[in-house]
Symmetry: C2
Subunit: 277 residues, 2 copies
């Protein structure tokens, strides 16, 4: 991984360092790995075995980035520390405790289209998918577009909400063990994955507070649901709005509850109550 | 509830009856209930206590309705039967077993805007929310817009996926016990709710198969993720596409995995493996 970026946020970093982040260097990934025998039309199978995180992480509000970028224009930073031998939970002091479940935010193979491609948007070949359930035990299937697949992975997160709403998760350097397999001529259209068991039991014990956005746009619905949760957390727990926004980026579910009763859809933001217990 | 509609699908109904459904009579609700003391700006608290379902339900593909209406143009119908004294699971014979968790698809108060309003689209006062976690033990908070709130409820479902993707859930007549409370001058913007405990443990035991849609539109992403799951189920289990589509409307999660890595978002369709075990 590019040491320049990994080294740019440390346990001692402050909010001033957020403004200095070089956006041209995100997201850091390791690769590409050439997969023998992989050809366009095949599916690369990635069995995700193990994570060894480094014991600290960070969540930032980066101006111009995030679901509520128009409302949160100032940089902010939270440093998380946790037990790297047993990364179960990390404090969002003094507010709560976020259950951890590491995964790679960016995981994918090379697109066939020529030229240089930004690593920020995910694509059908994967990339910056930010799917928080690609944890140890999950298996990811990626459509191969070039010879050798050219697999890369990085942007590792110790935990993340569905949606990565403020634009960053618990960004945390870690080693990852994966194993490759190949399905020949599978012609997969979009990435898919399989989980070995339940995905939310590390945070569902006490149930959820849920806010909604109801209206004709899913994107606006997601913004409204998130704003509702930020308002609720601030009113109830004395957070500042940006603190609530960053906490909401670390844990929860962002669900499309209803998408057929035209012209209005329902998007729901689920915040796990165990975080505040 | 309007007996005309409730009576229009029975345990003996066939696909021919789907074409005869009178869309002008959906969704059947009970109400309005006048809440003493409720005024605009208050929040109606609805504590959801108990469901007594009738022992059978139906899922239909209704032409012109549903997330993939353009692809599924012919009517289809599945009749579900289950134990009404203990509605834990219902067979989707011969394919699998769907865990049940009853809730009201339509639950809301009257909008202040004058005139006649279709009951199909949900609104900020609730209505056809189709939130599958409004089960027994959950508490719903609704913004009041008119004196007396005028609460109605119906369109009861024995189970539903996030999104109600084919347009119908396991539609099932039932009695519901709720209790009201009022928060004066709360000025809630959108419906919110609270769950008393975990929401997916009835179906998460064996993990999930997950398909994704990656691209610049959340609606298209949801369609792509759903199409991927229908293809997977058909290839693996010999379903017909419309059978897989209707099964996908009964169980699963429809999540926004990523909504900040412009210009592409990730929508994921989670199908619980326990259904096919």
């Amino acid at each position: 991984m590019p040491r320049q970026l990994l080294g740019s946020v440390t346990r001692e970093s402050t909010v001033e360092d957020v403004a200095k982040l070089d956006f041209g260097k995100i997201n850091p990934v390791t690769g590409p790995v050439y997969i023998d025998g992989a050809e366009p039309g095949d599916t690369l199978v990635v069995r995700i075995h193990e994570f060894k995180p480094c014991g600290f992480g960070w969540t930032a509000n980066i101006p111009g980035f995030g679901l509520l970028a128009d409302q949160f224009k100032d940089p902010a930073l939270h440093i998380w520390t946790y037990d790297n031998t047993n990364p179960v939970v990390s404090a969002y002091a003094p507010f709560g405790k976020v259950p951890l479940k590491p995964f790679p935010g960016t995981i994918g193979v090379a697109p066939a289209a020529p030229g240089s491609h930004s690593i920020v948007p995910p694509r059908r070949v994967g990339g910056n998918l930010d799917i928080r359930d690609l944890n140890a035990g999950s298996t990811l299937y990626l459509p191969v577009e070039v010879a050798g697949a050219l697999f890369s992975m990085g942007d590792t997160h110790a935990a993340q909400v569905d949606g990565e709403v403020c634009g960053t998760a618990i960004e945390s350097q870690m080693n990852v063990v994966v194993e490759f397999d190949l399905l020949k001529g599978d012609n997969l259209q979009m990435p898919r994955f399989e989980t070995a068991g339940p995905v939310t039991r590390h945070l569902d014990t006490m149930g959820y507070e849920v806010t909604t956005g109801v209206g004709p746009g899913l994107f606006k619905g997601a913004q409204d649901a998130l704003c509702g949760m930020i308002d609720l957390l601030c009113a109830r727990h004395n957070y500042s709005p940006v603190e609530a926004y960053m906490l909401c980026s670390a844990c929860g579910d962002l669900c499309i509850s209803e998408i057929v009763d035209a012209p209005n859809w329902v998007v729901s933001f689920y915040f796990p109550k165990v975080v505040l217990s």
